[in-house]
């Protein structure tokens, strides 16, 4: 291992100090710059996705009433009124942007790139050129999705799951014109980008760890990234293939997903012999593992932050590692739980139900271990810590509500209702996105060499935490009433008329939630330029990344890191201080530590 590191070190010397601005900040090969490029891009898309959500919420609170301010932007030149086809576009694009352009690339692209080499003691990724390409392949994706809003018929309207025939038959929906083609291309390019990233991450983590950094001394963040990369590598090709099949159904008239006698606008289609359910199987074979891609790195980051600010070792490190590996394995055999009422053979429902129940288990184990980490610590309520704790608190809700869906008979009722919307926002937004905020506050000093303002961070946290719960918790109740998702005007149905007030409450909380994010934006940019300087290790943390300069220079470390122990030795009786960096040589008579 050490030889590999030495070799690659030499190889990286070639692109060492770069001179031009273009090479340093734009076409950079440095993993840290690439990570920051991902970070800024995804944060921009985060605000786009957020604005789209505001459009959805406006319509549900005040159906067909012109939307002030944003209306013209989101809904086109109809005086700000959101037409039904624009509503389906909003739902589709909000979800697509959030999943494919925010959560996946921010975790793997931004944090993965920035943190992996730093946390394992490498000077860069294994293949820096591939790394740079993985960022630049996001640009066609940005372009396709961004421009799809402006083509005839608007952006894709088939839902982010893009179920055919709706997404294939061009007459079936206005957005099934170019919008859908651009959607497919966009998602494919995100896929290519992720694929390059995932190969790089796996290679880097396996090959480039500093001497002494055994697999079982890796921080949980790295474990999360590693398992995510493995999942990507195995699941993505399926989505890509399915995407091409859908493209060819659309463009050259194959019929993979179109049954015999498919009709559109009362006229029969030329093609046939296919199966709409085939798409669902292929899509969820990727997208179910993808929900773990969207949470495992966040779980890792949370584990690191919790241990740091509880000033205590992570409870049950190995069980944590085994449980995320278990999630990876089981993750491939549970996709059918998205299809309980799809028309798939109901016998399969039974098997998928049992495997789904079992995959809840590793999540439970992790939750108890996080609680164990807090037990007996000396908790410091810093901003990153608050976000990390809120992850645990919210993940409990998201995890428990999942059991309702896993129970097939209950799922018959709640499938495609707001119960689902509540569940996945608890996991994705209240969970993952909160972990991302925590991660930004935590690693900001390493990224920019300055501290973010902690007091404003806490204001941002409190508002986000309270409002977010006000937005998503009542959605469980909506779902219990059978309130379906993706309905432009649910009050069309008697059953849902009494839900208008609840929806208005939710919407106003959502608007405030969105507005409160400006505190974060201001804090972020102000601190980037004017925040107090951070030393190497402002949090007194153990991880390797905190031994490098802030921000780390090219090649990361100004010394050759040698690792003596795991990253969670806080409060160790071996040393006088309450932390014990991974690179600090053990005292003479110290007992060897095998963790």
């Amino acid at each position: 291992m050490s030889t590999v590191t030495a070799d690659t070190h030499a190889a990286h010397g070639e692109h060492a100090p770069t001179s031009s601005f273009l090479k340093t900040y734009v076409f950079s090969l440095d993993h840290k710059i690439i990570g920051l490029q991902f970070l800024f891009s995804t944060l921009i898309w985060f605000s786009v996705g957020g604005l789209l959500a505001m459009g959805i919420r406006w319509q549900l609170a005040y159906p067909w009433r012109p939307m002030p301010l944003l209306g013209n932007l989101l809904a086109g030149p109809e005086g700000g009124q959101i037409a039904p086809e624009n509503y389906t576009m909003l739902v589709t694009m909000h979800a697509t942007v959030m999943i494919f352009f925010v959560i996946i690339p921010i975790l793997a692209g931004a944090f993965g790139n920035f943190l992996i080499p730093l946390m394992i003691g490498a000077d860069d990724m294994a293949v820096p050129v591939l790394n740079m390409l993985s960022y630049w392949f996001m640009w066609p994706a940005f372009f396709f999705i961004g421009s799809s809003f402006f083509v005839e018929g608007g952006a894709a309207q088939g839902g982010w799951t893009s179920y055919p025939p709706l997404s294939v038959i061009q007459q079936a929906a206005p957005g099934s014109l170019e919008g859908q083609t651009l959607w497919l291309l966009g998602v494919t390019f995100v896929g290519i980008s992720s694929m390059m990233g995932s190969i790089n991450y796996m290679t880097t983590i396996i090959q480039m760890r500093a001497p002494g950094m055994t697999m079982f001394r890796l921080p949980m963040t790295i474990w999360g990234m590693f398992i995510t990369a493995v999942l990507q590598a195995f699941a993505l090709p399926v989505l890509t293939a399915a995407g091409f099949m859908q493209l060819s159904d659309r463009m050259i008239g194959t019929g993979f997903f179109l049954p015999e006698g498919a009709m559109a606008n009362n006229s029969p289609m030329e093609t046939g012999g296919g199966q709409p359910l085939l798409w669902q199987h292929l899509f969820w074979f990727y997208s179910h593992p993808a929900v773990y891609i969207m949470i495992l790195p966040a779980m890792g980051m949370v584990s690191d932050i919790l241990s740091t600010f509880a000033r205590k070792p992570l409870f049950g490190y190995k069980p944590m590692v085994y449980s995320i590996s278990g999630i990876a394995g089981l993750g491939f055999i549970v996709w059918g739980h998205h299809m309980f009422v799809s028309g798939m053979n109901p016998m399969l429902g039974m098997t998928f139900m049992v495997s789904t129940m079992m995959i809840a288990l590793p999540s439970a184990i992790k939750t108890f271990n996080w609680l164990g980490t807090l037990w007996g610590g000396k908790i410091q309520f810093t901003t990153p810590m608050l976000f990390a704790i809120s992850f645990v608190s919210m993940f409990i809700i998201g995890g428990l509500s999942g059991i309702f869906m896993a129970a097939t008979p209950v799922d018959i009722f709640i499938h495609d209702t707001y119960y689902i919307v509540a569940h996945f926002h608890y996991v994705l937004f209240c969970g993952t996105a909160m972990a991302v905020f925590g991660g930004i506050y935590y690693w900001f000093p390493k990224m920019f060499g300055r501290m973010m303002n902690d007091s404003w961070g806490k204001v941002h946290f409190s508002l986000t935490f309270i409002l977010m719960n006000c937005v998503f918790y009542p959605m469980h109740i909506l779902g219990m009433q059978g309130f379906p998702r993706r309905l432009a005007d649910p009050y069309h149905y008697e059953t849902f008329r009494n839900l208008l007030e609840v929806n208005q409450f939710i919407s106003w909380c959502a608007f405030l939630l969105m507005a409160s994010q400006s505190i974060f934006v201001v804090n972020f940019f102000y601190s980037m330029f004017f925040g107090p300087r951070a030393g190497r290790n402002p949090w007194k943390a153990n991880g390797l990344e905190w031994q490098a300069p802030s921000p780390p220079g090219h090649g990361n470390f100004d010394f050759q890191p040698i690792i003596y122990r795991g990253p969670y030795e806080y409060g160790s009786p071996e040393v006088d201080e309450d932390y014990y960096p991974q690179t600090q040589p053990p005292k003479e008579k110290a007992i060897p530590n095998d963790q």
Partner: protein, 257 residues
């Protein structure tokens, strides 16, 4: 305020539980169940709600207690330097595993009754979803679909006899839809190229919403229908009436509301 943060996190279980306690009083809860099999599903829902509710309260309270007790500002004890515990690890793996398996096995019966063990009876009606309407076809006096005496309706109104086992055939004319009857706790995606069965028994007379639960295009939101449960004699009379109307009827597009 001292311990501010721990109390903030305590609001989660507090308001979480309060929401579920008060929701029924504001009449936002599971919609009225008018079916025979809905009871089972509702009971299962409530069973899981109580179970997860207890786990929710306990874990969130433990979280609160730890945040309160081990606040670095007030906790003067030294840190418990522990890397974990095998015994605990086993306990909190085995107990949830057994519970989850129990839930899985416990509700297989209900799943089979709803989706696998179809009663061997003829179709009461055929449901066809199309953008954006529900069409219904009744077999007519001969009891067989696709014969001369079929009654075809395109006004989104489905009439069914109450207290009788119903068997529907479900197909799609174009894209995916989902035939969802909230008050009967049944839902089935409507897939073009596939004919599916749905069975249930309505226990109350009256009209109830038919909702489309799968995105099917711009008009998805208004793809509404009504199901009416009638006593047997009224149902028979209704079918005769529909059949007579049939000859005069031109295809009606349901009115916008």
């Amino acid at each position: 305020m001292k311990h501010f943060w721990s109390f903030l996190f305590f609001l989660v279980p507090l308001f979480g539980v309060a929401t579920f306690v008060f929701a029924p009083h504001f009449n936002i809860w599971l919609p009225r169940d008018v079916s025979e099999q809905g009871r089972t599903i509702d009971n299962l829902f409530m069973f899981i709600l109580y179970l997860t509710g207890i786990v929710f309260i306990v874990t969130e309270s433990v979280l609160f207690y730890f945040l309160w007790k081990y606040d670095g500002k007030s906790n003067k004890e030294s840190v418990k330097f522990s890397h974990g515990s095998h015994a605990l690890e086993l306990v909190w793996t085995i107990i949830p595993a057994v519970t989850l398996l129990f839930i899985a096995i416990y509700q297989m019966q209900a799943w089979a009754a709803d989706k696998i063990d179809a009663p061997a009876i003829p179709f009461t009606a055929e449901v066809t979803g199309r953008q954006f309407n529900w069409d219904f076809r009744y077999p007519g006096p001969d009891g067989e679909l696709y014969t001369q005496d079929d009654i075809v309706r395109t006004d989104g109104k489905l009439y069914l006899p109450v207290n009788e086992q119903i068997m529907l055939k479900i197909t799609s004319g174009d894209v995916l839809h989902s035939f969802f009857l909230p008050n009967l706790r049944v839902k089935q995606d409507v897939v073009p190229g596939m004919a599916q069965k749905m069975w249930f028994k309505g226990k109350k007379t009256g009209g109830f919403d038919i909702v489309c639960a799968e995105l099917c295009g711009w008009g998805h939101y208004k793809m509404k229908g009504r199901v009416f449960f009638l006593p047997r004699d009224e149902y028979d009379a209704k079918l005769v009436e529909l059949s007579a109307e049939q000859d005069k009827m031109t295809v009606q597009v349901p009115e916008e509301e």
